[in-house]
Subunit: 253 residues, 2 copies
């Protein structure tokens, strides 16, 4: 096969979030024919990757980082030079650090872009003047302060949801087996959408000027117009993946 760089996507966390990222890569590319689109490899091997939040909360023993690193090695074998994984929770340090260590130990050169870092960079580039940023995420990301720390480190003020909103609205909208987005995403249930919208309103009432939908299931539940103050990390990551491989093909903001 030819040697042009391929954009790798670690899918399966969840399956539709992987598709959503690839769709956004296509959408952010300047292309009018099939041949003008960028080469993307998506490996959706969710069956091999333990739940990220369950691991961080101590409910499953195996570090998902091990399986994720194996997927990245498979992507590298296909010719991928850069990759992204559309799962915020997989970027929690206990998982992210384990997988980068494993890649380094194996001498692999594929570059995994950082979803949270790219999202903060997008806020800074696309929304100058904003100071208060409110993230919604899984309980695992919330407890570890995944977005909270990154927002603060970048000089913004993090606006966090209450513990009650986190557990009763955000987490149930994502995980509830009877109506949550992970179990019902095509289409998302009206109940899950209502819970996400209520959580966003809660952050706005607390002063958030921009809201990050910091779990890749969340943007499946609500419309996220591009250029607005609701940030979809997958879109930020899609743009970053193009910027790092074929910058001339990146659609202007």
């Amino acid at each position: 096969m030819k040697s042009e760089p391929i954009i790798g996507v670690v899918g399966g966390m969840g399956p539709y979030a992987g598709l959503d990222l690839v769709s956004k890569i296509f959408g952010e590319t300047v292309a009018a024919t099939d041949q003008e689109h960028l080469p993307v490899a998506l490996l959706s091997y969710g069956h091999r990757i333990p739940d990220r939040t369950a691991y961080v909360l101590g409910r499953v023993p195996d570090n998902p980082g091990t399986a994720i690193a194996d997927v990245l090695v498979a992507l590298e074998s296909l010719g991928a030079t850069v990759a992204g994984m559309p799962c915020n929770s997989a970027h929690m340090p206990p998982i992210f650090d384990a997988l980068t260590r494993r890649l380094r130990a194996g001498g692999h050169s594929i570059r995994l872009l950082h979803l949270i870092g790219e999202t903060i960079r997008y806020v800074r580039d696309a929304l100058p003047g904003i100071r208060k940023v409110g993230p919604l995420s899984t309980l695992g990301s919330f407890r570890l302060g995944l977005y909270e720390k990154a927002i603060r480190a970048a000089g913004f003020k993090p606006i966090m949801p209450s513990v009650a909103v986190q557990t009763d609205l955000v987490d149930r909208a994502i995980y509830d087996p009877s109506f949550g987005i992970k179990a019902h995403s095509a289409p998302v249930t009206a109940r899950a959408t209502a819970m996400v919208l209520e959580s966003m309103e809660h952050l706005r009432q607390r002063g958030a000027e921009a809201i990050i939908l910091g779990c890749t299931e969340l943007p499946l539940a609500v419309e996220v117009p591009s250029g607005g103050t609701v940030i979809d990390p997958a879109r930020a990551l899609a743009r970053a993946l193009i910027r790092e491989t074929y910058p001339g093909k990146l659609r202007p903001l």
Copy 2:
């Protein structure tokens, strides 16, 4: 990596049609968690694959089957045992025969399911009693009788569009650079949708009892309720891919 069979998808023809097939594989799977979903590898290398219709009409010299076979070999190297390609035109004999010859010559064992064959099988299984079947497709498929011959061989009566509808409505809805689905699929333009709907009405007036949207761009333009008399070949192929790998996970019709 473990050795469970992976479902391979040859994407990029066009890019969104590849995503659409993968989405339908997920949608036709009985699964409530990330871990219960099936392993799927999507290689969207549309930049390497010449336009199928252009090749069959003699407008480009390279047979797309060569590049498609290379993608199938890459899928096999990942562990894919069965694959599908959501592009009706790529199943035209000059292309399909070239790629299967190339796979056989290389001693490869990956099984490529046949989109058109699986679609006809789906019509027979899901819509007993129907006799007149009308397909919409690209000009290349139309001229070669891709669906027409398969419909007749299966004992149905093919209902074909007029040449004027084929060229002025169907082909322009797919290919027109300013409003066609290939150039504008997220979202599809109102003009392309109207042209597809008018073409479907034309087939119904000619007597079609079921309509096959026989170019994978077409179902992106109109709602295709499952169980109805409008057939989305991608859905038929998605179900066939699950049936051939993990039949116990196939959602009942």
